[in-house]
């Protein structure tokens, strides 16, 4: 579970950055912005799920609430 999430996020970041460069060179800046946003949103959804899982485990471990 653990290591491939990091690779997934890094891959999304890398791909969006490269697509950004390509689109900027072919002067389609607004599409480049959209691609960056799409990459950011998907990664944020993944990371938020991970943090939610972390905080749930913390809650059960510490017996809070």
């Amino acid at each position: 579970m653990d290591i491939n999430i990091i690779f997934k996020i890094a891959a999304v970041g890398l791909i969006t950055a490269i697509i950004n460069q390509v689109l900027k060179k072919s002067d389609k800046d607004e599409i480049a912005m959209l691609v960056t946003l799409a990459g950011l949103v998907t990664v944020l959804i993944m990371v938020v799920n991970m943090i939610g899982q972390l905080f749930d485990t913390l809650k059960t471990v510490f017996g809070m609430y």
Partner: protein, 128 residues
């Protein structure tokens, strides 16, 4: 052992962050955050072992269970505050991380007030 896995994960995360910073992507700090969460998730069950031992020892020592649960709650709040404020320091937002730290301190003080009052009453009882 466990520590090798954690060191490997941390190293790989660091490399990914460097690569992403190279291509100037905004996801570099997010990869760092994800790496931190993964490392934490792999050691979280050590926490529960330690805490079950501590609570059993405290029970033997006759401590009130409310005090022990409060201690665990304060540790948890302190840890979460430190976790988020260090991430914000990573991203360069030191003002935000100071605010989170202040909020964490206030919450800890607020949560531990009843025990302090209990302590004072106990002392007053002794003196009177």
């Amino acid at each position: 052992m466990e520590i090798f896995k954690i060191a490997a994960i941390a190293l790989i995360t660091a490399f990914c962050v460097l690569v992403l910073r190279e291509v100037k992507s905004e996801l570099a700090p997010i990869v760092a955050l994800a790496g931190g969460v993964v490392v934490l998730l792999s050691v979280i069950n050590y926490f529960s072992d330690v805490f079950s031992v501590i609570s059993s020892v405290a029970k033997k020592a006759g401590l009130a269970t409310s005090v022990v649960t409060l201690l665990f709650k304060v540790i948890a709040i302190g840890y979460i505050t430190e976790f988020s404020s260090s991430i914000m320091d990573d991203m360069g937002l030191s003002s935000l991380s100071d605010k989170v730290t202040l909020a964490g301190k206030l919450i800890i003080v607020a949560v531990s007030l009843p025990v302090v009052v209990q302590l004072f009453n106990f002392i007053a009882g002794l003196l009177a």
